[in-house]
């Protein structure tokens, strides 16, 4: 039993840390640590920098541009991103679509899409949820009808997706669509389809959330013509693809690293804030809540390391362990946003200047950040769905 990293792992950590320090653009870092949304250009700029270093897609097979790092190195890499305030690349292309293509794609599909994902040429987004299909994803209704013509087959897609994160930045979208409405089981009539978002008939409409930010969207499909070659895996077997993706979620540690950074920032903030002339940090009530959150994060970090070690030994995907980390990780993130907001007291109230005046202090973003992070326990499989997964997969209930 040994909780410490090897000297090679520590050297790797230093390498990642030093490189991030030297190469992470200050304006991007500043946006991350002061809780502002990143523009498409920010993401692409950062992606290009990572791609030039060969670090954009570490987890891919080396023949496609992966680094060949082991899972511990990947964990350290993720954690250092969080600590540094470096944005993780949105997972939709590099982590999700690419994983699917690497497992199910034809050689032509791999050659066509993977290099562009690796190099940040295409911004990918995910079309899963629908107004009537959230946690119950198999209820999705967006239809794709196959049409044969002399110049080749294509699909005609009609329907709607919702909560499409960064859909307004998207060049491409991968979607689960219904190709057979008569299938006996709902899961059996679904297919995995790739669509160029410039195709006529696709409309993206912003959904503004309660923090005032534009992050998610509705995407409408109106007689959208998609070449049949954009079907991944077999028609009506999209559920197999979706399940594979679910079972291969990476055990990321980005949230552990980011939470460490934010807790340090919270400590600094609470040391400056005064309550009855004394630092808020010395207030026993505040201090207890901060301490409990720190302890929770410490437990989360060690649990992550334990699961990582187990994975390394068994060579098996992490399964329901990821669900456990998702639940606790998002709870810690949410607890921090709440403590941050409360730490600044009345200064959490002002949000936006009405007239020409500017409010550009970080305090004005703490309440919106708290609002925004209610999403964490909802997205990527709500925490209730995660509990269902644990009950079923690891407890046999």
């Amino acid at each position: 039993m040994d909780l410490s990293y090897s000297s090679e792992e520590l050297a790797f950590r230093t390498e990642v840390r030093d490189w991030l320090m030297a190469n992470l653009p200050a304006d991007i870092r500043d946006k991350v640590v002061s809780y502002r949304h990143l523009s498409k250009d920010d993401y692409l700029r950062w992606h290009k920098i990572l791609a030039a270093k060969g670090w954009a897609v570490p987890h891919w097979p080396q023949e496609w541009g992966g680094t060949g790092w082991n899972i511990t190195q990947r964990y350290i890499y993720d954690e250092e991103f969080g600590i540094a305030g470096a944005p993780m690349l949105p997972p939709f292309g590099p982590a999700m679509c690419a994983s699917v293509l690497l497992r199910f794609g034809t050689p032509e599909q791999k050659a066509r899409f993977l290099p562009r994902i690796r190099d940040g040429d295409d911004f990918w987004v995910q079309g899963y949820s629908e107004p009537g299909a959230g946690s119950d994803l198999a209820a999705l209704k967006t239809r794709a009808e196959r049409v044969s013509t002399s110049s080749g087959d294509h699909y005609v897609v009609n329907g709607q997706k919702i909560w499409t994160t960064l859909g307004h930045y998207g060049d491409w979208i991968f979607c689960l669509v219904r190709t057979d409405s008569s299938a006996e089981k709902r899961q059996e009539g679904i297919s995995f389809l790739l669509m160029d978002m410039t195709t006529p008939g696709i409309t993206v409409r912003p959904l503004i959330l309660m923090d005032g930010g534009h992050e998610v969207n509705e995407v409408f499909f109106d007689d959208v013509k998609v070449p049949a070659e954009n079907l991944v895996f077999e028609e009506n077997k999209g559920w197999t693809v979706a399940k594979y993706l679910l079972g291969h979620e990476r055990m990321g540690s980005g949230s552990v690293g980011a939470s460490k950074r934010e807790l340090a920032a919270l400590r600094a903030l609470a040391a400056r804030e005064l309550k009855n002339g004394r630092p808020l940090l010395d207030d026993p009530r505040f201090r207890d809540r901060l301490s409990r959150t720190e302890i929770e994060l410490q437990a989360l970090e060690i649990t992550s390391m334990r699961f990582l070690d187990k994975m390394r030994r068994s060579g098996q995907p992490p399964g329901a362990d990821v669900s456990m980390l998702k639940i606790r990780g998002t709870e810690v993130q949410q607890a921090i946003t709440e403590l941050m907001m409360q730490a600044v007291g009345p200064m959490a109230q002002p949000f936006k200047a009405v007239d020409a005046g500017q409010i550009d202090h970080v305090t004005s973003r703490l309440a919106p950040r708290y609002f925004n992070f209610r999403k964490a326990s909802i997205y990527a499989g709500s925490n209730e769905i995660q509990r269902n997964i644990i009950a079923k997969m690891s407890l046999g209930l």
Binding site: E294, A299, D309, L397
Partner: protein
């Protein structure tokens, strides 16, 4: 990074586990708890024969030179079986203090009996009205010709009535000191009681107890760091014991959810109950992580403050998880969970007391924060 037990650690835990299954089932445990001494000499001798009393003793003193991590898997097994023999007090406190504070001569005299289990030790340090404070204040020792006179009283001394000798902390002119006192010495009065979870404790009074010069363990006035280290060490062992008891509680609850039928279906099919047991399983995982942290920091920390902070962080988590898991176990077992006849009610009591021993969550939260 390595979170597996070594082969030796695993073998010890396996053979102990197997032994406890055969010799420490619910009925056998009940007989021990109800016996006059509340401790089975046979079990005690077997635990010693397995090496449990020798593992954490320094090699120079004839032990294996191991630490908390080496005892962790075994303590888990004890927690699972709700062992009541005072292993934690003997190994984690008594033996630990002799090893760290004793002179070479004292260690050579005392350790053989610690190792073979024939000299059972108990540590008397808590004083009435002072909750979890570890520094002696109201128990005092005055020098006199050829030795010391000990006065005062200690409370909730685990294993005192089962021990051959007590280690007693006392305030002396130079600070905190430790003394080795026979439980049968003139002026020593034990008032033993059974704890709510089947162990034995005693309140101990010292009235002008005459001690020889050799009763002072190590150097007068220098005991406090040793006391704090030993209590942290024992707390780490207690955390491991708690992890075993939590696992047992969760296993029992899960098995009950899968067999108990109501409304024509097993109650484990109800989502509201599924989510509650899932929360308990997550709490147990987090508790295990923190128990590992505590054990590795008492074995190897950069400073006493680093050690103390890690142990306190762990104890907060353990105390919270122990409460949550034990309460949910009883709730999900329904009325059966309250029954004296079911092990789960005993595990409930054990976990409840573990949450408070060596300091409850509030105590350790305060200590954690004060060291940050």
């Amino acid at each position: 990074m390595n979170f597996e037990y070594s082969d030796e650690q695993q073998q010890l835990a396996d053979s102990l586990g197997k032994y406890l299954v055969g010799h420490y089932d619910f009925e056998q445990r009940k007989a021990i708890v109800d016996s006059a001494s509340g401790c089975s000499e046979t079990v005690w001798a077997d635990l010693a024969a397995m090496g449990l009393t020798a593992i954490a003793v320094p090699e120079a003193d004839g032990g294996f030179g191991g630490g908390a991590l080496d005892l962790m898997a075994a303590m888990e097994a004890c927690g699972q079986a709700l062992v009541v023999e005072p292993l934690l007090d003997h190994v984690g406190l008594g033996g630990r203090l002799v090893g760290s504070a004793g002179s070479a001569l004292q260690r050579s005299v005392l350790m053989p009996g610690v190792i073979d289990g024939s000299r059972r030790l108990s540590f008397a340090y808590l004083e009435p009205g002072r909750r979890y404070e570890t520094a002696p204040l109201t128990t005092t020792a005055q020098p006199r010709a050829g030795g010391w006179v000990l006065d005062g009283s200690k409370c909730v001394v685990f294993g005192a009535s089962q021990a051959q000798q007590l280690l007693v902390s006392a305030h002396t002119a130079d600070g905190a000191s430790l003394f080795i006192v026979d439980t049968t010495a003139t002026g020593v009065t034990l008032n033993p009681s059974r704890t709510v979870d089947g162990q034995r404790v005693a309140d101990v009074r010292f009235d002008e107890v005459a001690l020889g010069a050799d009763a002072l363990l190590g150097v007068a006035g220098t005991a406090q760091p040793h006391i704090d280290e030993a209590v942290d060490f024992a707390t780490a062992l207690l955390c491991a014991e708690a992890v075993g008891a939590m696992k047992d509680a969760n296993d029992a609850t899960l098995a009950y959810l899968k067999t108990r039928k109501q409304f024509g279906v097993v109650i484990g099919s109800f989502q509201v109950l599924q989510h509650r047991i899932v929360e308990c399983v997550i709490a147990a995982e987090q508790a295990r992580s923190m128990a590992i942290l505590a054990a590795s920091k008492v074995d190897q920390a950069g400073s006493p403050a680093e050690r103390a902070r890690a142990v306190s962080a762990a104890k907060v988590k353990i105390a919270d998880a122990a409460r949550q898991i034990s309460q949910e176990a009883v709730q999900l077992h329904g009325g059966m969970g309250m029954s004296e006849e079911l092990k789960i009610s005993h595990t409930f009591r054990r976990l409840t007391m573990i949450a408070q021993r060596f300091g409850d969550a509030d105590h350790h939260l305060e200590r954690y924060a004060s060291l940050g």
